[in-house]
Symmetry: C2
Subunit: 361 residues, 2 copies
């Protein structure tokens, strides 16, 4: 489910000035919570998602459908909802309940391509407003992977003291050239779809072919060659290679679920993200009052190469934040945090369990 019975909403300020300079009027951020509510924030984990996920991280009583991180979040899982109060946030600019291009503007028109430019920093601030809404000044950990792994860095830089610990998985301080290039191709696929109409497609006639093509390519960039080879090899079914059928299926599913303007917003936000733009990111982290950080990267990641995570650790350590760096070797590439869970499970347990045990006493 992308928005369901478990979805809640936090209001944004009546006029939220965005990082790129635009103003978002009367916005909101969709979120879900898991576990028993926490008044102090001591037991709270704030979770940011990847590009295409909703706030539904795992099944709950209100919404029993499996979530995007079903194997990691839940009772007895690495992020154990028997202990932790988990808040998962739908990214601002996305299309699963938070304000975004599929909403209507104050004049009642669909925002579409006129939705003000959203930056990763704004997604982070969206999460911060959810905490305000819930009366939480400070949480135990802020956690995210992929786009979420970038967002947690922006969160620490913009909201010092709002999180004691940070977990950034397969993130970056600033995307690499090949990541920008691959996303540029994906955007071009959408923008050149003749029914895209410069973003003013009617809701019932979205640029499906462009979205499908963008996701076919995305799927390849989220994986690593060895994993694809082992799973699909050169096998064929009905004339086509199995990898072709698989990509087409992923593309169709995505075209059925995601809005093209929202996709373009988040895609561009990722490219523009550069925590070093205002100087050494270690300066930002120095002021963030982080007690520790956990950074995880995958050696086979094409899209967020492990050198990106090495730079995160370097900046954190220069900022005096005690940091642990976990290098994962996984043929699943960037998507390892969704597909090859054991090393992430183990690293998250090591990060979270000592605290959980301390609290239980």
């Amino acid at each position: 489910m992308t928005q369901g019975a478990a979805t809640r909403y936090a209001p944004l300020p009546a006029k939220l000035t965005l990082h790129a300079g635009g103003v978002l009027p009367n916005g909101r951020v969709a979120f879900e919570t898991f576990g028993v509510a926490d008044r102090t924030g001591e037991r709270t984990i704030l979770l940011f998602t990847g590009l295409s996920a909703s706030a539904h991280a795992c099944a709950s009583t209100l919404d029993p459908t499996p979530g995007w991180w079903q194997q990691i979040v839940g009772p007895g899982r690495a992020i154990d909802t028997d202990h932790w109060f988990v808040i998962c946030v739908n990214s601002l600019g996305s299309c699963f309940g938070s304000s975004g291009p599929t909403d209507t503007d104050p004049q009642g028109r669909r925002w579409g391509p006129r939705f003000p430019t959203v930056s990763i920093e704004d997604i982070a601030t969206g999460g911060w407003h959810v905490l305000q809404h819930l009366g939480l000044a400070r949480v135990h950990s802020v956690v995210g992977a992929s786009l979420g792994g970038m967002t947690v860095l922006a969160f620490a830089a913009r909201h010092p003291g709002a999180a004691r610990h940070l977990v950034s998985i397969s993130g970056t301080l600033a995307p690499s050239t090949i990541a920008i290039g691959l996303r540029a191709v994906q955007r071009e696929a959408i923008e050149r779809d003749p029914v895209f109409l410069d973003g003013d497609y009617p809701p019932e006639r979205p640029p499906r072919a462009g979205l499908r093509l963008a996701r076919m390519l995305g799927t390849l960039t989220y994986r690593a060659p060895a994993g694809l080879q082992r799973r699909f090899g050169r096998k064929r079914t009905n004339g086509g290679f199995d990898i072709e059928h698989y990509l087409a299926l992923q593309g169709e599913r995505f075209a059925d679920s995601f809005d093209a303007n929202a996709y373009l917003q988040l895609s561009r936000a990722m490219d523009r993200f550069d925590l070093a733009l205002d100087g050494d990111p270690a300066r930002a982290f120095s002021a963030a009052k982080l007690e520790t950080a956990l950074v995880i990267g995958v050696e086979q990641d094409l899209l967020f190469p492990i050198t990106d995570q090495e730079r995160i650790v370097d900046a954190l350590e220069r900022a005096g934040v005690p940091s642990q760096f976990v290098r994962v070797a996984s043929d699943e590439g960037h998507d390892a945090f969704l597909l090859d869970l054991a090393p992430f499970d183990a690293a998250l347990r090591r990060h979270l369990e000592p605290e959980a045990i301390t609290h239980a006493r």
Copy 2:
């Protein structure tokens, strides 16, 4: 130049049965030659190209424009046309003079999507017919990179004894899953272009947007992340990232020069190529009467990973062909044979010079 004053043509048999079962009537293969003609073949090098190149490997008196391998082929170059007679062949199914989808069928209609299915094996046989046309039964070396690096393997397997030596650069016995997937996305970009019209676009209105998109992605797959990072980084010009401008430029150039149906033919031919389909490729090489082989691969190649070239060497050695394997480390990735020439230059000189010196005596 793609077809110019230097282009020559060799006829194919009136009815050429193609590897996939179709029949090509009254076909021809375009080629160019460089250096002084050779009657025996002892001084002859047969050169196959990558997907998008023409037969114009280097400048000549008849056509002084630079060729696609200008720094490697020519007087005093690694493939020294002061000594060697070089024949470069335009791939069958391409659009630079050899029979392909832009030609007319026997009824005078444009072949377009009805051009019979071309396989890598047919491209190899096209080169063999050029040798027949020139009266050469056996050449010193058959050389190719990328698609050409696959074609030389098919040439050796299908035309035993026609080459004494083989040089396969960044080739494969059978493309990997990620290579198939990336090409599937490129084909989808073309086939979904609304002016593609199932391949029956009028010549004056080709699916430029699709070709452009396919080449933007192709360009990224031909390079390696580190090389792109060093060259483009996160630099911006006029609002866009330099990598975006560069990809757009490459896409435009390609859309101006290449035919969409020809592209699809060659793209599919690469995917289907599998020299192991009829059993162990070592068997094919055993019968090929090769005296030596030189195989070159690039460790950073995403599209033709170096494990592909390791398998070529393994098959050649099991076939009893003395083989040299040169591993190149280059941040240029698959395109290193065009952009990072020194290691290829050196390996080709080592392969060719002893013979050149022997002949000079």
